[in-house]
């Protein structure tokens, strides 16, 4: 679906690259997560992939089209949802979708069905300018799936939404993926990535540090920990001990044999902790 080879991009058109030597491939039916903190180069990459930014150096193929020679019809197969919702405030929700629908050459979904799907059907005839932020976001989101895209670009689809709506959106993504849609997901939220993505790429300072499935990453990079709370001389103590480091293992044995354990559970590394470990940087 997407092939990227040696992609560079510089806004100032010099050696000051926002994205450098990015390589990856996404196959059909995959949900691919592009993870990194703000300013890491996620949006730049997505911009080049969706043709919003001109390609400067490298090879990029999207849904079978060479981005160097973009064809407008390519967008019949692509859907893009923007991080900042962008809808016409003076048109109603329904009019927004109906207008956008007519810009495609392929069969489109029913606007009303989509509105129902994200619970906006009761405000279908209300002007989008009067919507709350979350409502606008949902409208932008469903607009991107009007043309039944084969490849779906989602930029921070759940950021800033309340948990109920976020989970609704995640369910829709999962459902569409089940139907065969390939998803390119850009986010800095590791929990969303962990839940949705088959594979993730860590990007920082314009470079991809690694690409793998969340499970593999956890196996490779996540250390297994045990958290133990125990009483020592009537004082409650909480310790986090690695199951790999010998010293920690010995300490754990010691606690189990001599101490009064109040509580004990294993703890896996989160994707976020792995990201920090690999890149040396946080996500915010």
């Amino acid at each position: 679906m997407i092939k990227v080879n040696g992609l560079y991009h510089s806004y100032s058109k010099d050696e000051n690259f926002a994205v450098k030597n990015v390589n990856f491939e996404i196959s059909k039916g995959e949900v691919f997560g592009f993870l990194g903190p703000s300013g890491a180069g996620k949006s730049t990459t997505q911009g080049v992939l969706t043709g919003l930014l001109p390609i400067q150096k490298g090879e990029v193929e999207v849904v079978g089209y060479d981005i160097r020679h973009p064809k407008r019809e390519m967008f019949n197969k692509i859907g893009v949802s923007f991080e900042q919702s962008n809808v016409y405030g003076k048109l109603t929700a329904l009019e927004n979708l109906e207008f956008y629908r007519k810009l495609f050459d392929v069969e489109t979904m029913n606007s009303m069905d989509l509105l129902k799907w994200v619970g906006l059907d009761h405000v279908a005839n209300k002007k989008a300018g009067e919507f709350s932020k979350g409502m606008k976001h949902r409208l932008t989101f469903i607009r991107s799936m009007l043309n039944n895209p084969e490849l779906w670009f989602l930029d921070e689809p759940t950021t800033g939404l309340d948990p109920a709506i976020a989970s609704q959106i995640k369910d829709i993504v999962k459902e569409k993926n089940k139907q065969g849609t390939t998803v390119f997901l850009t986010t800095h939220n590791m929990y969303v990535a962990d839940e949705l993505c088959h594979r993730v790429a860590f990007i920082i300072d314009g470079e991809i540090k690694l690409i793998d499935s969340p499970r593999n990453l956890k196996l490779q990079h996540g250390e297994k920990f045990v958290v133990v709370e125990h009483l020592e001389n009537d004082v409650l103590k909480k310790e986090q001990l690695s199951l790999i480091i010998d010293q920690d293992k010995a300490r754990l044995n010691e606690i189990i044999s001599t101490g009064k354990i109040e509580m004990m559970h294993t703890k896996e590394a989160t994707l976020e902790e792995i990201f920090i470990k690999v890149t040396g940087r946080g996500l915010e």
Partner: protein, 329 residues
């Protein structure tokens, strides 16, 4: 075509919601009506004369055939007001004309000859004055006013394009359109079309309301179409770089100056100075529309002037192309 129409329909829908399209459609009709109302009263105003109540009726009725006569108590106060009113004070055979001193040149002399003629009514003149005309009933004010309105209307068309683009910029919807199969050409035509339609409609409205006869509409259409490009280019070049309407409106306001300068320059400048307006497409538009209104334009002239307008527009476009294209992505 389907997509272009889709843009136009969207702009109309959005434009009627905040009355923008309604305003712009009503504007040319309204201005033409105001102009129509003003023409006779402006044409009537030639001389204003103030007299005292005790002025002999004979001279009053004589003066009334030439001027608007008003009775006053405080002559000096009335004359010193801001408009041009002359006082005529009759004392036996003597007549005094009271002026403020800053009136339009020639008008005092005219009043003087009129009063002089009254005093010497009995004198047999060795001449007779009779009148004929060459059948031109259109007043210069109607002609120039209509021309001005038609050209201004192209700016309104530009304003419509501009405000619709600013709307897209402000809501950031251009990027959403850029990820559909819409071609840039379709977007530009779709966004510009309504401006053109408005301009052509406005031109026709002005002509109809003011009641011009025998106009060659095809010629008018071609000329107005050519000048619409200027409005459109201005609308696009300002619209695509303005994220907020204030600077957009301010820049549009700036456009009024060359428009007014060109038209008033063309009206008032002596022939030998006209060449300093040759750079302005508005001058060429004024020039050809004037002849169309006078029913003396030729197709050669229409094509030449439209050609010049389009060439100037093309040069402006080449200069601004980068700005426009960058602004759209």
């Amino acid at each position: 075509m389907r997509r272009i129409l889709n843009f136009v329909i969207r702009d109309i829908k959005s434009g009627t919601r905040d009355w923008l399209v309604i305003y712009l459609a009503a504007a040319p009709i309204m201005f033409a009506l105001v102009l129509k109302m003003l023409i006779p009263s402006v044409g009537d105003s030639t001389l204003n004369v103030a007299i005292y109540e005790d002025t002999p009726p004979a001279i009053v009725s004589y003066l009334e055939t030439y001027a608007k006569v008003i009775e006053v108590n405080d002559m000096e106060e009335r004359i010193l007001r801001m408009d041009d009113v002359f006082g005529v004070v009759v004392n036996d055979d003597k007549v005094e004309i009271v002026t403020q001193g800053n009136e339009m040149e020639g008008t005092v002399d005219l009043l003087k000859t009129i009063v002089g003629r009254y005093q010497n009514e009995s004198v047999e003149l060795p001449i007779e004055v009779e009148f004929s005309d060459i059948g031109w009933v259109m007043s210069p004010m109607k002609l120039e006013g209509a021309n001005l309105l038609i050209i201004f209307n192209t700016i309104l068309g530009g304003m419509l394009i501009l405000l619709n683009l600013v709307e897209e910029k402000m809501s950031n919807t251009i990027s959403a359109i850029n990820v559909t199969p819409t071609k840039r050409k379709e977007f530009i035509i779709g966004k510009g079309l309504l401006g053109f339609i408005l301009t052509l409609y406005g031109g026709a409205a002005v002509i109809t309301v003011l009641g011009f006869e025998g106009i060659n509409y095809a010629m008018l259409f071609v000329s107005v179409f050519a000048i619409s490009f200027i409005g459109a280019i201005i609308g696009f070049s300002i619209g695509v770089v303005s994220d907020e309407p204030i600077s957009a409106i301010a820049s549009m306001k700036t456009v009024f100056i060359p428009v007014l300068a060109s038209i008033f320059g063309a009206i008032y400048l002596p022939a030998k100075w006209i060449f300093i307006l040759y750079w302005s497409p508005f001058y060429w538009a004024y020039d050809v529309i004037k002849d169309i209104l006078l029913v003396q334009a030729t197709w050669g002239q229409v094509f030449m002037n439209s050609g010049i307008i389009l060439i100037i527009t093309a040069l402006v476009f080449v200069g601004l192309r980068k700005r426009i294209v960058n602004g759209l992505s």
